[in-house]
């Protein structure tokens, strides 16, 4: 197995990914960087790339980054596991969960 470089990193701030960028759609316009109330993101040092999630621990899931994005699908929510909802199918009684 090819060995990947292992770094001495502290535990990653959790939750680390309040949103997920789709690099195929995102053109790095940084609208989300601007509309975020609390500066969760910074622009990517590489122009045209999706922003960097710098302060995920300050994210309040306000939603402006996703809802104000000019390119639908470029950025989507990613609820922390413990915040994912449960629901029930009325016809079958099966309990389902946001497990995408």
């Amino acid at each position: 197995m090819p060995q990947k470089q292992i770094y001495a990193l502290p535990n990653i701030v959790s939750p680390a990914n309040p949103v997920i960028f789709n690099p195929d759609i995102c053109n790095g316009c940084n609208t989300c960087v601007e509309v975020c109330q609390i500066d969760v993101f910074i622009p990517n040092p590489e122009k045209g790339k999706p922003p960097v999630i710098l302060h995920p621990d300050e994210c309040w899931y306000g939603g402006c980054c996703v809802n104000h994005c000019p390119l639908p699908g470029a950025i989507s929510f990613n609820w922390p596991v413990q915040q994912r909802a449960y629901w029930k199918d009325k016809a079958t009684g099966k309990v389902l969960r946001d497990s995408q």
């Binding site: 309040w60 402006c64 497990s99």
Partner: protein
């Protein structure tokens, strides 16, 4: 690749700070009116002042386009008794709201024995809320069903296309709350500010109010601030200022590990900045001893609206695990949109859980709703309210279909949070009939005044404060700021960036919160409250000098902590001053156990004079006759804006 450590792994180095650092630069801005906070109240104050022909600068910590509690959206325009379909008189409705303060859902049927309300803000809202809404439509905000998406929904009037909510309108008895498309509001407000030439300073945190001669209690002549991306220092000189900052949701509690700041009902930007700077400038505050409980969103609980039953789930029947209907309000027309069962009703449900009458978990039965009402609740109300669009969108993406699925209600499964996880109450600045604070040159709008209301309250009081501040500016002279005051403030603000080790903002915040949990919580005594003041003083003297910030963003968070610290001190002083217990204030002193003794049914005020705490009092109806006083001061009110 999106996380900073991905960049580290890719490049072997930490990404550089993306903005230029300008700690040493200072800019001075001269304006007629300075609006502090660019949320709903701030934008409306700026627009209304600018329409009155004065020069306006507005300062906002984030980007005005989506900032503030109302930035993401809003689904209810709550208090519009002046709308054409209303069945109540605006002045009567104002009086009723003052006697029956609305906390969630409809006011109680009988007048409360005791209410700590704001008769001035409520009267303004009842008279001007509908005009404010119509002006919002002029700017591009969507306030009616112009696309005929919801024809046939209950509460929709086909002639005006206004859609009413059952909130506060049992069986259509009042028709005072209008359903709105609030995600359109904030961009429209920012655009109007820009069109009117309001100078907007986004990403700037205001840190202090400047007073004439630097004297506490003197006229407010400006403010200081800094850019939270590049660190640049800003000095604002103004003839009048409108304080339109927000409350504080995390004074008793910090936990970002479980779900980020999603663990609070509001974003981190709300941390008592306005109250803190006003207090230091010598402004008078009241109701600061009141606290609330973290109902949801405490990190150990579900996010706002993540489960059924929260405020926007109108007309949704709650059922038990087997589909049995619960004696829980529908939030519909029969119950006037009431959100929660009465305390007795809740006890019955809890007893029913224990004896097997009702099986957990509970659900909101969306499939049982008529299609049109389901669409109104899911698409319009949940789609437009604040942070809820991310819930409807992401749940749908994950397969949730309200026509087929019942959404779980987590409220009772989660249990109650500890009593020492509290929220700030309705404390804020006292105001007169011009929405002027106790300081000359300082006006107040929205959530920063005591006993404030919600989104439309912020809008209508912002609009009113802007108008009154503009009138004041036209008859006042030039301001002069004290350079000494600026120099001192600059040294205070930049202290954390001069250190690279010590105590970071999260550690300090949690330390302040712990002091509040220990010494100013469910049960209070003079001894505990004084220990609380000592604990905060110790934090101020020992740990604040160790506070460090590695970049302008962390500097903002650090300075916010200092606001939290001051806010805690105000709460403790106000709590010491009220020597009685009070149910409406959720305030219980073991050393003064009598609940709401008549002698103490009054506002207790606190302020600083020569840096000493001075307490005072005001009668509960200090505003006098609301209709008479409103009319006496608004003879020149021209209604809906007709300018270009």
């Amino acid at each position: 690749m999106t996380k900073w450590n991905d960049l580290l792994e890719k490049n072997g180095k930490v990404p550089p700070w993306p903005y230029p650092i300008r700690y040493d630069e200072e800019h001075e801005i001269d304006t007629d009116i300075l609006v502090i906070g660019g949320g709903i109240a701030g934008c409306w104050a700026a627009i209304s002042a600018a329409r009155n022909g004065v020069k306006v600068a507005m300062v906002e910590k984030a980007d005005t386009i989506r900032s503030g509690s109302g930035g993401p959206g809003c689904d209810h325009w709550c208090v519009t008794p002046a709308n054409p379909h209303s069945k109540v008189d605006p002045d009567d409705w104002a009086k009723r709201l003052v006697e029956h303060p609305v906390h969630a859902g409809q006011p109680p049927t009988e007048p409360l024995p005791l209410a700590y309300s704001n008769g001035i803000g409520t009267q303004i809202q009842c008279r001007e809320d509908f005009d404010t809404l119509l002006e919002l439509e002029q700017m591009g905000g969507k306030i009616r069903d112009v696309d005929d998406e919801y024809v046939g929904a209950e509460g929709r009037y086909d002639d005006t296309k206004f859609m009413f909510s059952p909130r506060m309108s049992p069986n259509h008895a009042t028709e005072v709350t209008i359903r709105v498309w609030g995600t359109t509001f904030k961009p429209a407000l920012k655009k109007e500010c820009q069109r009117l030439g309001v100078k907007i300073y986004d990403r700037v945190m205001v840190t202090s109010l400047l007073t004439e001669g630097g004297v506490q209690g003197a006229k407010v002549v400006g403010a200081t601030g800094f850019n939270d991306r590049n660190g640049e220092f800003m000095v604002f000189k103004s003839k009048a200022a409108v304080l339109a900052t927000a409350g504080n949701s995390s004074l008793w509690f910090l936990n970002t590990e479980l779900a980020g700041y999603n663990t609070f009902p509001n974003s981190r930007t709300k941390c008592g900045d306005g109250m803190s700077m006003a207090w230091k400038a010598g402004a008078e505050l009241t109701l600061m001893e009141q606290t609330g409980m973290h109902m949801i969103g405490t990190g150990l609980k579900h996010t706002w609206y993540g489960g059924s039953g929260d405020a926007s789930f109108e007309n949704l029947q709650q059922v038990d695990a087997h589909g049995k209907k619960l004696p829980w309000p529908l939030q519909g027309w029969p119950d006037g949109g009431d959100m929660r069962p009465s305390p007795e009703g809740m006890q019955k449900i809890i007893q029913g859980i224990k004896d097997g009458t009702y099986a957990l978990p509970f659900y909101g039965d969306f499939p049982a709703m008529p299609d049109i009402e389901r669409r109104v609740t899911w698409e319009l109300m949940l789609g437009e309210e604040s942070t809820t669009k991310n819930i409807t969108n992401s749940y749908e993406k994950a397969g949730f279909n309200p026509a087929k699925h019942l959404l779980m209600n987590f409220l009772l499964m989660e249990g109650n949070g500890p009593a020492n996880w509290r929220t700030s109450g309705a404390g804020g600045l006292t105001v007169d009939w011009d929405l002027k604070s106790s300081l000359d040159g300082l006006y107040v709008a929205g959530g920063q005044m005591f006993a404030a209301g919600d989104h439309s309250y912020a809008a209508s009081t912002g609009r009113y404060a802007g108008r009154k501040a503009a009138a004041y500016v036209k008859q006042t002279g030039e301001s002069k700021i004290s350079r000494d005051q600026v120099t001192l403030e600059k040294a205070r603000i930049y202290a954390p960036i001069k250190r690279s080790d010590g105590v970071d903002w999260k550690e300090l915040h949690a330390g302040i919160a712990r002091a509040m949990q220990y010494f100013c919580s469910e049960y209070k005594t003079g001894l505990l409250l004084n220990m609380g003041l000592d604990a905060l003083k110790e934090i101020e003297e020992v740990f604040v000098p160790r506070l460090y910030a590695l970049d302008p963003h962390k500097l903002m968070r650090s300075i916010e902590d200092l606001c939290l610290l001051t806010h805690g001190q105000i709460v403790l002083n106000a709590s010491l001053a009220r020597q009685a217990s009070s149910r409406p204030l959720n305030f219980f002193r073991i050393d003064y156990p009598e609940v709401d003794p008549p002698d103490w049914n009054k506002f207790i005020t606190v302020k600083l004079e020569n840096n000493k705490v001075k307490t005072g009092e005001m009668p509960l109806n200090y505003w006098g006759d609301m209709k008479t006083n409103y009319e006496a001061r608004n003879k020149d009110y021209t209604g809906v804006y007709k300018g270009k």
